[in-house]
Amino acid sequence: MESSVEHEWKKGSAELLILSLVEDQPRHGYDIGKLIERRSEGKLHFHVASLYPLLYRLENRGWIQGRWVEKPNQRRRRYYRLTGQGQKVLAQQRRSWRQFVDAVGRVTGVEHV
């Protein structure tokens, strides 16, 4: 079993990733998973078994909201969009993340770009 810090670490960054991806437009789960993989050039990969539970959690907290949408010539899909509260959380998490990476950088001497 992984330690609770590691667990929260991964989970925390995953939250940040998801919130960022739905910031500018609503996206469905498959799209989100694909985007993470593509933009991280395959370094980050989300399994179905962790992606959807996480989406539901974020939804429960009121940070994102899911809605079934049927677009022309497309299948019915569930799209997630960022809520007002989600925007605040995202802003705060971005800030914390930045500072955290800075702090780690200063401690470890690894400079970030």
């Binding site: 667990h7 989970k11 179905v48």
Partner: protein
Amino acid sequence: MSKWTAAIRKRLEGLKIPPEREAEIIDELASHLQDRYEELTAEGATAEEAYRRSIEEVNYTDLLEELPATVRMGPGPTIPAGAAKSGSFFADLIIDLRYAARMLRKTPGFTAVAALTLALGIGANTAVFTIIDTLLLNPLPVEKISELVALNSTQAKKTEQSGDLQGISYLNFKDVRDRSHAFSSLAADTNPLAITMVATAEPHRVFMEVVTGNYFETLGIHPCLGRFFLPSEDTTPGTAPVVVLGYAAWQGRFGGDPNILGRTIKLNNTPFTIIGVGPKGFKGLYAVFGPDLWVPSMMAEQVLPAGQGKALSDRSIAVFNGVGRLAPGVTLPHAQAEAAIVATSLEKEYPDSNQGKAIMLRPLREAAYGPERQPLRFGGGLLMAIVGFVLLIACSNVANLLLARASARRQEIAVRLALGAGRGRLIRQLLTESVLLGLLGGILGFLMGYGGSRLLWSLRPAEFALNLAELRMNGSVFVFALVAAILTGLIFGIVPALRSSRTSVSEVLKEETRSAGASRSRVSLANTLLAAQVAVSLVLLVVAALFLRSIQREYTIDPGFETKRLALFMLYPGQAGYDRTRTEEFYKQARERIATVPGISSLTWASNMPLWERKDTGVVIEGQEQRRKSEEVSAVVNTVDLDYFSTLGIRFVEGRDFTLEDGDISTPVAIINDTMAATYWPKQDPIGKRLQLPNGKKFLQIVGVVKTTNYQTLGEPPQSCLYIPLRQNYSDSMVLYVRTERDPSTIFPAVQGEIRNLDSALPVEDMRTGTKIIEQALWGAKIGVGLLGVFGLLALGLAAVGLYGIMAYSVNQRRREIGVRMALGAGQGSVSLLVLRQGMTVVLSGMAIGVLLALLLGRVLARFLYGVSGGDLVSLGTAALVLLGVAFVACYLPARSASRVDPLVALRQS
């Protein structure tokens, strides 16, 4: 789509979520798999392959585990932002425990110091609680002690002198038993009495209690071996020569011989058969001092000392104490009311022996201590309070350590908050850590307490070890330690946990590790805790000092008789089967022979041991007989031989000593002390006046008045005492007093030898020097003072460690500031002073509070102190100086290290 739906539904069977939600989730997952399928076919996979891969890429086991939690949480913003992953309570607990254990392992130094600090606190508490539990909470291992009551007789009209509880005679006891209905069973026992036991060859002095046949049954206890007394052994005087051994005596004196039953031993020269062994831990109903064996009441005449031999048939010989089990539904007041009616009728029927006597019932739990109850309760309460404070100091120390560590962990905590850990969850995690630490300290403390209480108990006087209460480490002690540990963990953990979890994520992450500003408030909290520690330590030190000074004074008390060159030998010739003539001959011969031992300057016989003297109620003073109706005269009565006063160095105020002329046929005489003279013959010459002993037939003429000495305790208020000559008053057991020219213990063997030469059947085991008597009288107080001292120093040590820790931490925090100051020209001295001033301000404010508290407490304690006032300046001053000194050192060391800060290094670090 439907192909996916069915496949997923099959794989997620047993998912415990509402069906609507389940359907929705399955729809969404199906949509996902369809997307994946389309992607794979677009990449050129065959339909079968794409289908298989899409389905198999999903880890359904994880999904089954994860999904319910996301649903159970419920929607809406009521969940605090960043709420934790919430598994079940126990799963979280296990995670927390593992994490806590890892954190504690990671900082072994911190863990060791904290656990040890707590262990000292919890250990002290456990040790004291063990003793209190043994002595006060569960004094007697009997069945349902709450139903048992002690029955004694007392004066109907209480006066200052005669309010004491007295025994009840066997006949009165029998009448009460026959006439009252309040008891389901009523038994009686005597106090432990010295008796001579011959088991093999050597005679030994042991203690026995004479008890009625239903004694053990009334108490609801069962023999560990053999049986107790039968009803048939409780009917005819002299016909039941059987005896029950106590467990400790069986182990200690008979080596736990399993074949002990049926063996014959001689008690006071009468053969008795051992029929049983009492249960382990049971030592009679007098919780402080218990007997070695029990003899049935029908054998009273054979074993009781001369003068009490007719205890079964004489209503005026009141040597028994009643103990009864209340019948179901009967309350103590009800039983008391009934006993009052019986007492009134007994008073009418037997006015000679029962006039003015009432019957008094008390819960057995209260009666179990006799006169020692008050000091024991007071001492126990005081000690418990003190160790409670020691534990609080330990708690606040560990809280301070945790606070200091919390600032080191701010980053960790902030990261966890940033990553979505909820505040409640964090507090729980931190509390788990502190409770784990508390438990660790608790285990260590329990062991320390166990060792400590054993050690303490081993300090009891060895000669009575078999007869004194045994320490019991039972379940309640364990529960106590456990509860103390958990509470401790919560107490010292809650504030740091609350504070840590309030950490503002962005501030901390922005903040650089060494910045001092944000830790100001935690330093001020630490300061408050420190000041409180200093105050409590000071109070404890002052209390210890007060009692130390008090006991020092007690050692210098002049008991009124010689102690340094005095040797005492307790002898019971009556118990060796001597008749009166032979006993008197023995007293005479022994005097003559022992007087020839070199180094002895004088010797005498007396019935009482110094400071263990018996008080009798019912002295009649000629011309003041009417007192008998309202209040009885009580006085210490001591039967003494010639030269008693010169041997003990007690001065005559007037009149003469006993002489050879004061024999059987001459006028009965007595000598009284000046207290008695002043009380009963104020402004008169008592010489020639007459008085009568309790139950005495003749009047005694007063021939002399001597100085008052201490009779029962050191430094007691003056008591009346009356001496009667041995030659006119036979006693079958006496104490030989020998005044020596050098160290009294050197003549022990010679005196022992002379007595053996006279009769080898007489045990001479009990020999003491006068100094030893004083030591024994002060034993309890000494132990108490020792404990107070130990706990006082423990508190001081803990407070000093706490002070040092906080000062060192604060210097470390302010390193940069100090660097700047020094760079700007502050000298080493002024930097030291800065730090020192900061520390000593806290110490002095704590001391100011401590002095106030100590003065207040001193007022309460004043009546337990001897020759020292509660506000004793010497105690207060010494304690304050010691504390100040220790505190100064604890502050000085960090101050010195502050002055050695290299400004260049300190500034470069930032």
